[in-house]
């Protein structure tokens, strides 16, 4: 089973905030990491090829520094790595991103399965997986939390729903987006680290993927961010004082409208 895993380098979202006074992003100490959901996608891909054979190719669209997350994925068991990078990709929304990824995957060659994390923690859109499947005209399943079997060219799995889960069968080639309960990602092995260090990463630019320039990056995007601002926190902030009984009494009075 030849698997392509799409991974993204993201700023560690918990550290990204707007300074409400200056309205600028506080970036000091913000680390770049592999999108946490993508880790689980890489792990699942490695497990699938351990069971069924094949190769895992990790692919990332991003600036040259995104090479770091590709090497990290290789240290965790991926076989090949492709960096899709070009200045003209900057500012892409999910529409332009799925176009670019689709073109890059056409170049990388035939695959049986594409795995993605359910969403990236910077944008949280969860749109790239389904959008990419549409670009490639392959079936997909979102929010996969367990793969239960692979027979006759189809994968059986559990898809997480708001009220439980669905048991689903998807023929390959297909695309899955995974949630974190699907597995516990392994830590890099020594052998993996050695491989990651020496592996030459294939790089594809806009010309290599034969992309239409007008469909890339900000100019190729259907949506535009027109304003960013810090969220407002509301409400009174009261620390209740006194004995436990007094505190509970006060709290119940405050909560009257809700009970």
């Amino acid at each position: 089973m030849n698997i392509i895993v799409c991974i993204k380098q993201v700023p560690d979202a918990k550290d990204v905030r707007l300074d409400p006074k200056t309205n600028t992003m506080a970036r000091e100490g913000v680390e770049s990491i592999m999108n946490p959901f993508d880790r689980h996608a890489v792990e699942e891909a490695v497990r699938l090829t351990e069971q069924h054979g094949g190769t895992v190719t990790v692919l990332s669209m991003g600036p040259p520094q995104a090479e770091a997350v590709l090497r990290e994925a290789v240290s965790c068991g991926a076989d090949e790595a492709v960096l899709v990078s070009d200045r003209s990709f900057a500012g892409a929304d999910t529409w332009a991103t799925t176009y670019t990824l689709g073109k890059a995957i056409d170049k990388v060659g035939p695959f049986d399965l594409i795995l993605c994390g359910k969403q990236a923690i910077d944008g949280d859109t969860a749109q790239v997986g389904p959008g990419l499947a549409r670009r490639l005209n392959i079936p997909y399943v979102s929010y996969v939390r367990k793969i239960t079997g692979f027979e006759n060219g189809a994968i059986r799995l559990h898809r997480l729903m708001d009220d439980g889960y669905d048991e689903v069968e998807i023929p390959l080639p297909g695309l899955l987006t995974v949630v974190k309960e699907i597995n516990v990602p392994r830590v890099p092995s020594l052998k993996g680290k050695m491989k990651a260090k020496s592996l030459s990463i294939r790089t594809l630019n806009a010309e290599d993927i034969e992309a239409d320039a007008g469909s890339l990056g900000l100019p190729g995007s259907t949506t535009q961010v027109v304003k960013v601002f810090a969220p407002e926190f509301k409400g009174e902030r009261a620390m209740l004082e006194g004995t436990v009984d007094e505190q509970v009494e006060q709290l119940i009075n405050k909560l009257e409208p809700y009970l």
């Binding site: 905030r17 949280d124 979102s142 997480l160 439980g164 669905d166 259907t222 969220p231 409400g235």
Partner: protein, 396 residues
């Protein structure tokens, strides 16, 4: 790209202060832009000298932009009922439709729909396009996506809204990609700019630490998924009149490559925590599974759902569907009671939009108190039982 007229620039530095992305700085008396620029346009508006402008490449605007008219919502139907977020979509949809003086329509898909379409009319829909077909018994991205795409292409609404549920977030991106238009996920505010009918879509990003307003200026429809429990539900009026149309999908469009074999409701998790008015959530401070029972008792007493921090779920005191936060669910209840939860940002981003937040924690420095409306520093094994007792007394 951002164009800076160096003749006009007075080097005042206002743009530098205005820029959220630190993409512009004044060097030797003139503004200079760097690669961090996202072309958001904040600096252009701030420049009193008029030295800044954004040059956009000519973009192929969909020729018939003005022909797209009307507001359409996707009404989610599951296990025999219309999912609550659908009524919230009718609430905001009605508001937008009235402002634009256009009809509000709903697309209702499922098997065994009963009177659901009539309910949508009572809650504000002018037209309901319904498909009641056994092929729709289980949700599949392809079939649901095909039908919604076809209805949109025939009706040409200017705006299409859906709930940001597991279903909406899964198949709406397929529809938007098929329609070659923009989509904004998880919106918490929507407004239409009267001058040009552009939908201003505001959503949290970076785990809720930043809000962004997004437009889809060149293509139609303008599509958004909307977070449950943020918009106000429409008022029911059983005398409202509306048209219910049985839409006939082409048989080819009822085929899915993905097959759903069965749907399993998780026994103890039948309450979808994103839909309750009250959530009582527990974290590491409960110490063990037995401690976590207290949370369930308090939830019972207040008639709320049970939530949990990642620490509690990882310790297997409660199942994952109860997890609130970045890797769990985002909730917007009226009341959120956090017991023994320290309030790591990953948890806070999932619950900070609750109307009132109560925090009970032993550690007075716990970050949860930064977002709490009411805080009690104390031993939750003393506080919570007392709270349960008093609430039961009140309720008689």
């Amino acid at each position: 790209m951002l164009r800076i007229d160096i003749e006009t620039c007075i080097g005042c530095g206002v743009c530098e202060e205005e820029c959220t992305f630190a993409a512009i700085e004044v060097v030797d008396g003139v503004a200079v832009v760097n690669e961090k620029c996202t072309l958001c346009g904040s600096c252009v508006d701030s420049c009193e000298a008029g030295a800044l402008s954004i040059e956009r490449e000519e973009k192929a605007v969909q020729a018939d932009l003005a022909k797209w008219s009307g507001i359409m919502i996707y009404a989610e139907f599951r296990h025999g009922i219309v999912v609550p977020v659908s009524f919230e979509l009718l609430g905001i949809g009605r508001q937008l439709a009235d402002q634009q003086k256009v009809p509000l329509s709903a697309v209702l898909l499922g098997s065994g729909l009963g009177n659901a379409a009539r309910d949508l009319v009572s809650y504000g829909a002018d037209i309901v396009y319904q498909v009641d077909d056994p092929a729709l018994e289980y949700f599949t991205d392809e079939i649901y996506g095909n039908i919604l795409e076809d209805v949109v292409l025939e009706q040409k609404p200017e705006v299409v809204l859906a709930g940001a549920t597991a279903i909406g977030r899964s198949f709406i991106p397929l529809v938007a990609t098929s329609l070659a238009t923009g989509l904004t996920a998880d919106c918490t505010q929507l407004a239409i700019r009267p001058e040009d009918g552009v939908l201003l879509q505001t959503r949290p990003a970076f785990g809720g630490n930043i809000m962004a307003t997004i437009e889809c200026p060149y293509t139609r429809p303008q599509m958004a998924t909307v977070r449950p429990r943020v918009m106000k539900a429409a008022q029911e009026d059983q005398n409202r009149k509306g048209e219910i149309i049985n839409y006939q999908p082409h048989p080819d469009r009822l085929q899915s490559r993905v097959k759903v074999l069965r749907n399993v409701l998780e026994e103890q998790d039948q309450i979808n925590i994103t839909e309750g008015d009250i959530i009582v959530a527990g974290g590491r401070g409960l110490e063990n599974e037995k401690g976590f029972e207290l949370i369930k008792q308090l939830a019972d007493a207040v008639g709320g759902a049970v939530g949990a921090s990642r620490a509690a779920v990882d310790s297997e005191w409660i199942a994952y569907p109860h997890q609130v936060g970045q890797t769990g669910k985002t909730v917007n209840p009226k009341l959120y009671i956090a017991c023994g939860i320290s309030g790591a940002i990953q948890h806070v981003v999932g619950m900070q939009s609750a109307e009132a937040i109560v925090a009970i924690n032993r550690d007075s420095h716990a970050p949860i108190f930064d977002v709490a409306t009411y805080g009690i520093v104390g031993n939750l094994f003393e506080v919570v039982p007392k709270l349960i007792e008093k609430i039961k007394e009140r309720k008689g």
